[in-house]
Structures are given as C-alpha cells and as structure tokens.
Amino acid sequence: MASSTPTSEPAVIVQNVSKRFGQTTVLDDINFEVAESEIVVLLGSSGSGKTTILRIVAGLEAPDNGSVILHGREVTQIPARLRGTGVIFQAYALFPKMNVEDNIGFGLRIRGKGRKEIREKVDELLQLVHLEDHRRKMPSQLSGGQQQRVAIARALAYSPEVLLFDEPFGALDAQIRSVLRHEIRNLLKTIRVPSVFITHDQEEALELGDRIAVLNAGRLEQIGTPYEIYNKPLTEHVANFLGSANLLSGSIRDGQFAFGDSLLEIDDVESLSDGQAATLVVRPEDVFLRKPENLTQNYQRLAVAQVVEISFAGAFERVQVRLEQSPNKNIMITRPKTETAAFPLAVGREVTVGLVRFRLLPAGKTGE
C-alpha cells in the first residue's frame, strides 16, 4: 500500500536531527532509517524526545538541524499536509461529528476523489480492519480498540508514506493492550507499510518492533533487533531500560574481567584494554545459584553470596543475594521452576553465584 520504490532505498531517513526548546536540548543528533515494511519502535521514558521525533517526521514540528527523507524525497521544509504520513494519535483523534465511513474517507474526499472510488476504498479498508458492521457508527459509540482501527484505516486510505503511532495503547488497560498489539502487528505485516511506533513500554517494544531504537535524554543510544538490544546492550541505560540487569563494576586484567578476587573469562576483548575499568551486565535469568561444590564447567564462578530475599512471582522465583565481597551490592536472580525444585533455597543460605552469559561495557560509557 505504501508507494513502492523499486530500489532498496529506506522508506524513512532521519538524518542528524536536533531540536531545542529554549535552553533544553530535546533531540541531539538523531540518525536512523526505517526500511520498507519495517516496524521500528522508538523506546524511551517520558522526556526522552521520542514524541518530538515522531512530530518532526510528520511535519508537526520543525527540527533545528538535520533532515527527514521519505522515500527519497527530502521533506524537512514541507508542511505536514503535503507529506503524506499517517499519524495514529494517542487518543486517536477521530473526527467526532463524522461516522466511521466518513472518517476513513476523509483523506480521499479532500483529495477530490470521486464518490465511487471513495466508497470502494472505504469498503476495502473496513474489511481489512474488521469494522464492516460499524460503518455508520459515530466514534463515541466505538470501543478504544475499534477507534484505533478506524484511525489506522483512515490513514491507510491515502496510501501513506509511513505510519506513525504515538503511544497508541497508552489509554487502554493491560489485557486489551496485548490483544491489540498482536492484532496491529499482524495487520502491519499484511499491509507492509513502514511504521514507527513510540512507546515507553519495553514489553510492547519487544513484541512489536522489527528493530528497537532506545532513546535517553534526547540521544539515540542504540538501535537494533529486539534480540540485539536485549542481549547486547551498548550502554547501561539500554541494559536497564529493556529488561532488568545486574551491573557490577570491575576492571580488565590479563584479558579477563576482575571482580574482587574472581576472574571471569571474556570472549570479546577487542573493545577493552588491560587495566581499563569495565561494567559487567548480567540478566537475572543468566545468573545461577549452586552449592559451592556443585558449580560445573558450564558456569563461570562470580562469587560466594548469601540469600537475603526470596519472592514468588508466578512462573518463576525471584531471589536477591548479597555478595560476600561487596556487601552493599545485591544481585537479582530469577529461577524457573525446574531450578527451584532441584535446589530449594531459604533466606540466609550460602550459595555460589555462577554466570552463563554476560556483557562487558567500558566503564564511563554509562549513557547517563
């Protein structure tokens, strides 16, 4: 449905975009691309600048520097109404005095299309978003999810260059969110329109994005597939924002990571030099607790620790342990049922902490 380009040229290019509001730098040299039929999620907390990026791509806000290119056309100076983007606003912004059909047909009507053409297109879109039975209803008579589908159909009607979603699930409760997320991902994969989503919800980002761009205080810290972002975070902020992470400070010694009196083997040493301070990042599910004598070769021994808290979290158990050599630092571990059955724990018990997988970041590259 998007205007097709024969080349593999990206659908959207955001290049060196910066924006200040008064004294505050809202966006600092943002660069990313969205490929044809790709879904990119901009993930960040409020104030990270994600909404501003979306508005700049849509033309609702002008950048101070940099440019926006849609399917090879430089649009930075072009007003919103001539850009052909489809924005799905947080509250959907359906026109309250138009019924579903008229909302969807609006883009074609103002483009002076004939009645028959509009009717056919509207029928096709109503079918696509499964709202055939609601065509005569007013927006106020629809549920949140239905309104959202009308908003998407309304944008699709005029074959947008890109769909831009501004926290589209923000107003809905958790259960509906996950259903809608699934629906929308399927829909977007059917229609193959390049899309940019903004959200502060990591679960949403992981489920929706082909790629995720993590924003922090106006900077784009990392962009990559959900797998890359989760397993190979480039900054502490990224590690903490997407999923939870344990961070431990140590240093590089003889090509190994030294933490207290333990030394851990590392695969990827090229970015780190001897003597350099480094931060170890490990996910709670990559930490294993064992009796001291039972630590097999599969695990790298980190330290001896004492269990300080155990909480039941449904599918898994969450454990906090205090490391003997740094008593003010707790490590969080999540243990699946197989683990808890094989090795039941109690508060106060002494255990050995082993790691299966971790990342090292040069210290200082904290991202904040």
Binding site: G59, L82, A93, M98, F106, R109
Partner: protein, 278 residues
C-alpha cells in the same frame, strides 16, 4: 428523636424535606415570575380573542414586530460571524494583549443599555464625533433602522462569542493536527472538522443573541427616535401604547414577545443536546 428522623430520611420512609423545598421554590417564583407572566395572558385575552387579534393586526403593531425581528436578525448574523471569528483567533493564537482583548469583547454586557444608546448617539448623532462628518454627505445613521441594528449589536456583542469560545478552548488540538497530516488545508480543516463541533454553540449563541436583541429597550429608545411605523420596535410599541393608555394594544404585542421567548428557550433547551450529540 433526631437520630430517628435522620435515619428515616436517609433510607425509605417519607422525606418531608423534598416536597417542602419544592414548594418553597414555587412559592418564591409565583409572585416574582410566574404570576406576572400569567397576567399578560389573562389580561390580554380577557376581553375576548377578537379584540386581541384586532390589536395584534393593527398596522403599527405589525410593523413594530417586523422591525424588531429584522433588526435583531441582522445583529445576530453579525455577532455570530464576528463571535466565531474572534473565538477562533483568540483560542488559537497567544499574543500580548490577548486577555485585554477578551475582556473588551465581553465588556458590553456590563454596560447599562441606556449608556450604550447614549454612547452611540454621541458618536453617530448629527452632532456626534463621526456623525458630524457624515451629516454633510447626507448620511444619517441615528434614528433609522441602522441605528437599531447598531444598538442591538452593541448590547449583544459578547453573547455568541461567550458561548462559542469555551467550545474552541476544549477542542483537542490533535484533531486539527490529524486533519493536517491527512492532507487537509486550514480551510478544509475548519469546514469539515472544527465547524461541525461548533454547531450547538453557534445555534445557542445565535438564539441568545436574537432573544436579547428582540427585547432590547434601553439603548433602542435613545437611538431609534421611536417613530411609529418607522423606527418603533416591539418593546418601544408596548411602552408607547401603554403611555397612551391603550393597554390592550400593548398587551397583544407583549403576548407575542413572551411567546417568542418561550419558543427560543425551548429550542435552546432541547435542540442543543441534539446538535451537540456525536
């Protein structure tokens, strides 16, 4: 005992306060509002419907009613268009002096109507600031229908604005942004998106303005000259006939004006919900 009573009041039982308080409201309204209104109808029809009809059909009476309706109509048209425009500009743009402008637009409601009429005379009258310049050209505004329209515009100036502006203020800006990203021009957005949401406010503002204009007396009597069959509006006619002792003639027109206001307020009451429904 008192504990017992309050128990009754908050559960089932007979609640004395309810009928009592309703009776108080009606008892207060009776001499102040209801009886005066009723007496127009009682007196007006007491000497028979024939007489009432004859009084109503007197050429002077018909002229006065027509003049009131026509002058009020044009004042309403002007104030609704101006109110719509001013409300749009003042809620869309923020600028230095914006609040001062809003206060100024709303000011005419606070000015006594006699003062308003007098002020118009001082400006447009034959010896007035501007009227003095127009008189040699043979243009006279005061003591014509135009003067009545000017007076009506002045005293009802903020009414339509006051009803329309709050609707603009609460309108989400994302609607306009959505229309823009879809490709609508400013005008298309206004026409297809903004205006439909204002239907109720526009009709409401128009009816209020019209109702207030039709009944205007204080400013009209100063600027119109009160010439029968030339510049005499319906309220002036009532006053003139009453002064001449022709109470039936005054009463007939009073009934028509009262019915007209009932009609307008019924429309305001029932039609706005319908117009504003999504």
């Amino acid at each position: 005992m008192s504990a017992n009573l309050s128990g009754v009041r908050h559960t089932r039982g007979f609640d004395l306060v309810k009928p009592l308080s309703i009776t108080v409201i009606i008892a207060v309204m009776l001499p102040l509002v209801l009886l005066p209104l009723a007496s127009i109808f009682i007196f007006g029809t007491s000497s028979g419907l024939d007489k009432f009809w004859a009084a109503l059909m007197a050429p002077e009476a018909i002229f006065a009613l027509k003049l009131s309706i026509v002058t009020s109509f044009w004042a309403t048209v002007f104030n609704v268009f101006f109110g719509l425009f001013a409300a749009y500009v003042l809620s869309k743009y923020n600028f230095w002096g914006r609040n001062a402008l809003i206060v100024t637009i709303s000011l005419p409601t606070a000015i006594p109507t006699a003062v308003a009429g007098f002020a118009l005379l001082l400006l447009w009258g034959p010896y007035g600031t501007l009227g003095r310049l127009l008189e040699p050209q043979g243009i006279q505004i005061m003591f014509t229908a135009a003067a009545i329209i000017l007076a009506n515009i002045f005293v009802t100036f903020p009414l339509a604005f006051g009803v329309i502006k709050p609707v603009f203020d609460t309108m989400s800006s994302s609607l306009e942004e959505a229309a823009a990203t879809i490709g609508a021009t400013r005008w298309q957005t206004f026409w297809h998106v903004t205006l439909p949401s204002l239907r109720g406010a526009i009709v409401g503002g128009a009816l209020l303005t019209f109702a207030r204009s039709v009944g205007e007396f204080g400013s009209t009597i100063l600027v119109s000259g009160n010439l029968a069959s030339r510049t005499q509006t319906a309220p002036l006619y009532i006053f003139a006939k009453f002064n001449e002792g022709q109470v039936e003639a005054a009463n007939a027109i009073a009934i028509v004006l009262a019915l007209l206001s009932f009609m307008i307020f019924s429309i305001l009451f029932f039609a706005r919900d319908w117009l504003e429904a999504d």
